[in-house]
């Protein structure tokens, strides 16, 4: 076999068997309590890939040594025959490590986060179902089904959830009546209804009279009468006097929705027009127009929580804390979120706390269970698409200068505010703080330059970049040094016996030991550089040190090859 073919075969066999070994290890180490079955294969492949990337270099080193040290022939012939294929394979592996490493790290992290969330949500779901907390159970159920709808552990609690749903609908109807009671508001609406009626504004007179009756049952009889009169006047005015009961109900509902839309209660309006569209009135031109208008209004000020839940089942990162300066001198912003979930154009933040500090040390604190970052804005109101009445609104505290949060006064919270970071920026910063290995190299480099401006310690990201910048050195160094060491310690030309199989594991173990020592040394030098500069200069310095180190190792590895009496005396053709 030619020297080049032997080296290529050895390196390929080593890499394939190493991946297979780590895949088998991942299969063995898989636990259904840690990773849900739906994600098992994804997790095992990511785990095997990362294991492979952590260990390929020492194994390539050993494979190259063993392949070359058993070759016979001229040194020049062996070097010429092995250098090109060894470099090609090293380049391939280095490229795979640099491109695939972040993807694998991200994949593994996603599987672990999702599985962890599934397990905790399942426990919470069971607790909520047992305690009869339908709202909590419903939220957790949507999260669970978004992650894995087929998990058998969901079947039993789902049956109990259906029963709970019926019970909750009844209780909710009673609660709605109670919650809507507002005698003062009813009186005001009743006064406005009469004023509109006197002016001949039948639409608004009908709307205000209906509202008054809903807010205070004591006014129900009178308000129904006035609403009826306004209705008839309206019918007379439009000429539609022959509407049946269903038609009248539809028209009244449409009117109510229109009123909400004009008063900019987009969620309320959307709820009504959506309900009308779903109940067979989707062809009505006004329903379609107002549904579109109210939806546009909702999307301008609000977002749907199911978007956040869906996003969190795809890509999410835990624990975001940012601190950055504001546009005006002395101002700054602190942002803390328990979790961030991402889609291509938006980021969703759970349990958001957003503190805007002014130059005089006074501040405004906004809190929201859910928030969305998109199109340069931070949206703080969220609603349930299936139940648009269920709206989560932010709360705001105005904190006077020199005081802490405990002395803050409740203030009016905005629906949204300007936000300078895009969803992509948020992903990069959050990943830099939690899983720097999942960032692609270019994003990692750009984020490193701005991490400190956002209060993120740059060291973990820099350490990871140091590790990555060592990959080409590792890949090329391991193969080339393996070839050189193999050349230096080749079998003598006249040795007819094959290499002792008993010696092989021993040789491999000691080589591995030596390689680990070298890796440790590299880590020390890289860490020292990171501590010295904590920016991209550290990468340049450690690259220089690595080049020096590899050069020193090459000098050591080449050693006495030329003076080898067993090989140089009568060179033969390479096998």
């Amino acid at each position: 076999m030619k020297p080049g073919s032997r080296v290529v075969l050895a390196l390929l066999a080593c890499n394939v068997s190493l991946f297979a070994f780590f895949f088998a290890l991942a299969l063995f180490g898989y636990s259904a309590t840690d990773i849900i079955p739906r994600l098992a294969l994804r997790w095992e492949l990511a785990e095997a890939g990362l294991g492979f990337l952590a260990w390929y270099a020492p194994l390539q080193f050993i494979a190259a040594i063993l392949a070359v040290s058993t070759l016979k022939g001229e040194v020049e012939g062996i070097v010429a025959g092995t250098a090109v294929p060894a470099i090609a394979i090293s380049a391939l592996v280095a490229a795979a490590a640099l491109v695939g490493g972040p993807l694998l790290a991200r994949e593994k992290q996603a599987c672990e986060i999702l599985s962890g969330r599934f397990t905790t949500s399942l426990e919470g779901f069971r607790r909520a179902v047992a305690a009869g907390d339908f709202a909590e159970a419903k939220v957790l159920h949507s999260l669970l089904t978004a992650i894995d709808p087929k998990d058998p552990r969901l079947v039993e609690p789902e049956k109990r959830l259906s029963a709970l749903s019926i019970k909750d609908s009844r209780a909710k109807a009673e609660r709605d009546v109670e919650a809507a009671r507002d005698p003062a508001g009813a009186k005001a609406a009743w006064r406005r209804a009469n004023e509109f009626f006197a002016k001949g504004d039948w639409y608004n007179a009908h709307w205000q009279a209906t509202l008054a009756g809903r807010l205070d049952p004591a006014l129900l009889v009178e308000s129904t009468r006035l609403a009826g009169k306004a209705w008839e006047a309206m019918m007379d005015a439009t000429g539609d006097t022959d509407l049946d009961l269903a038609g009248k109900a539809f028209f009244a509902r449409k009117l109510e929705g229109y009123g909400l839309l004009r008063s900019e209660d987009f969620i309320g309006a959307f709820r009504i027009f959506d309900e009308l569209a779903k109940s067979g009135h989707d062809k009505d031109a006004e329903v379609r127009r107002y549904l579109k208008e109210s939806l546009a209004g909702v999307e301008r000020t609000t977002f749907w929580r199911d978007e956040a839940i869906d996003a969190s089942t795809e890509a999410s990162l835990p624990r975001l804390f940012l601190r950055f300066s504001g546009d005006k001198p002395g101002t700054e912003t602190i942002l803390a979120a328990r979790e961030c979930a991402f889609t291509s154009g938006a980021a969703y933040l759970a349990d958001l706390e957003y503190l805007e500090v002014r130059a005089d040390d006074s501040a405004r604190l906004l809190r929201a269970r859910w928030a969305k970052v998109a199109t340069g804005r931070l949206f703080l109101i969220s609603a349930d698409r299936e139940d648009p009445g269920s709206v989560e609104r932010p709360e705001a505290l105005e904190i006077p200068a020199g005081a802490g949060i405990d002395r803050g006064r409740t203030a009016k919270a905005p629906a949204s505010l300007d936000f300078r970071l895009s969803a992509g920026d948020l992903w990069n910063l959050a990943a830099a703080a939690t899983v720097p290995a999942s960032l692609p190299a270019f994003d990692a480099l750009t984020t490193l330059a701005r991490a400190r401006d956002y209060g993120i310690p740059p060291v973990p990201l820099l350490d990871d970049l140091q590790r990555r910048s060592g990959v080409p050195f590792e890949a090329f160094g391991s193969t080339m040094l393996g070839v050189l060491v193999g050349l230096r310690f080749r079998r003598p030309k006249d040795d007819r016996r094959g290499p002792s199989l008993l010696a092989l594991p021993f040789v491999a173990l000691l080589t591995l030991l030596a390689f680990q020592g070298i890796a440790r040394l590299d880590l020390l030098a890289a860490t020292w550089c990171s501590r010295l500069f904590a920016d991209t200069r550290a990468l340049a310095l450690s690259a220089g040190l690595r080049a020096l180190f590899i050069a020193a190792l090459i000098v050591l590895a080449v050693g006495a090859t030329r003076a080898d009496p067993d090989h140089a005396a009568s060179p033969t053709r390479a096998e």
Binding site: L66, S69, R319, F321, R323, I334, A336, R338, D351, E353, L355, V357, D361, A363, L365, R367, R369, A401, G402, G404, I405, G455, I456, P457, V485, G486, R488, F489, R490, R491, P492, D495, R497, P499, S500, A503, F506, V507, L510, T511, L512, L513, Q516, G517, R520, L521, L524, A525, T527, W528, L532, A552, V555, L556, G559, A560, A563, D564, P565, D566
Partner: protein
């Protein structure tokens, strides 16, 4: 003669390269807390004088294999390696006696201002420190129920201990020490590598030199049997193992327990010597004995291969 000179030059060059690598590693490890070019330069000098016995052990032990590849005659190779090893040992001992700089004082870590400091499941962030006050402090414990952010424009700070009082809790602004990255043996835990020829062992130059030469004999002697193996790679690996054995043996013989044992046993034989002389004698004797056995073994192996 030309081959010998080339091999000797390579032997010395390899010693210097290994010494530079070890010294750099030691200097990086000892300067992680307060990195800088000057501490690194001083650290390099200090660590070179600490690590030379390890570089010497490697170069003498592996020299048996590498010289054997370049030159015929196992006994001649052994003599050459020992001759050069003694020379380097004498130089190293003299340098260690005359040039060892004192330990550099390590400045205490500074409190972190303007950045975020993670502490277990929580974090604290301070905009600036002004004497005993911290400005614009934010902290949160991720395990706490929502809302969890604590904020104060000013908070009491203890510059001595680096402690910060906020919202009834105390946070430490002293960054956690960096993870220890000492020179350890891979797969053998986090215990630091036992370095041979501890300079604190003896104040006598002659005794130190004798210990260093005995250590050279031990390393070279233990590596001689590896030359019997015809496959140089396996011989190289075996000599690495022999060096590891020699380093561990030297570290063990430096312990008080080993010295007491040696003194007691030598007293039973009627010898009353300084325990370090006994250590040197024992190392040299073991080295010579194993070398003699190894030479016999390799001769027999060569005869079998020839037959």
């Amino acid at each position: 003669m030309r081959v010998w000179l080339v091999s000797a030059a390579k032997f010395i060059a390899e010693f210097l390269i290994l010494l530079a690598i070890f010294a750099a590693a030691g200097a990086f490890a000892s300067n992680l807390d307060a990195p800088g070019p000057l501490p690194l330069a001083l650290g390099l000098e200090r660590e070179a004088l600490v690590f030379w016995p390890l570089a010497l052990a490697l170069v003498t032990g592996l020299g048996m294999v590498t010289w054997r590849i370049a030159q015929r005659g196992r006994f001649r190779v052994l003599l050459s390696v020992c001759f050069l090893g003694f020379g380097l040992a004498a130089l190293g001992t003299a340098a260690r006696f005359n040039l060892l700089p004192p330990d550099l004082p390590v400045p205490p870590p500074l409190p972190a201002a303007g950045s975020t400091l993670s502490q277990g499941e929580g974090l604290v962030s301070v905009r600036a420190l002004e004497g005993s006050q911290a400005r614009r402090v934010a902290a949160l414990d991720w395990r706490a129920p929502f809302p969890r952010l604590v904020w104060a424009p000013r908070a009491a700070f203890d510059p001595g201990k680096g402690g910060l009082s906020l919202g009834g809790a105390t946070w430490s602004l002293v960054p956690a020490p960096p993870p220890r990255l000492g020179l350890t043996l891979p797969f053998l835990g986090e215990e630091p590598l036992p370095l041979p020829l501890d300079p604190s062992d003896s104040d006598s130059f002659v005794l130190s030199l004798a210990l260093a030469c005995a250590f050279v004999l031990l390393c070279a002697g233990l590596s001689v049997p590896s030359v019997a193996i015809r496959w140089p790679l396996a011989a190289f690996a075996l000599s690495l193992l022999a060096i590891l054995l020699a380093v561990l043996a030297e570290a063990w013989l430096g312990t008080e327990a080993a010295k007491t044992l040696l003194v007691r046993d030598s007293a039973a034989l009627g010898l009353t010597l300084d325990p370090l002389w006994l250590v040197a004698a024992l190392e040299a004797a073991v080295g010579i004995l194993v070398a003699a056995l190894g030479l016999l073994l390799s001769r027999r192996s060569a005869e079998e291969a020839g037959a």
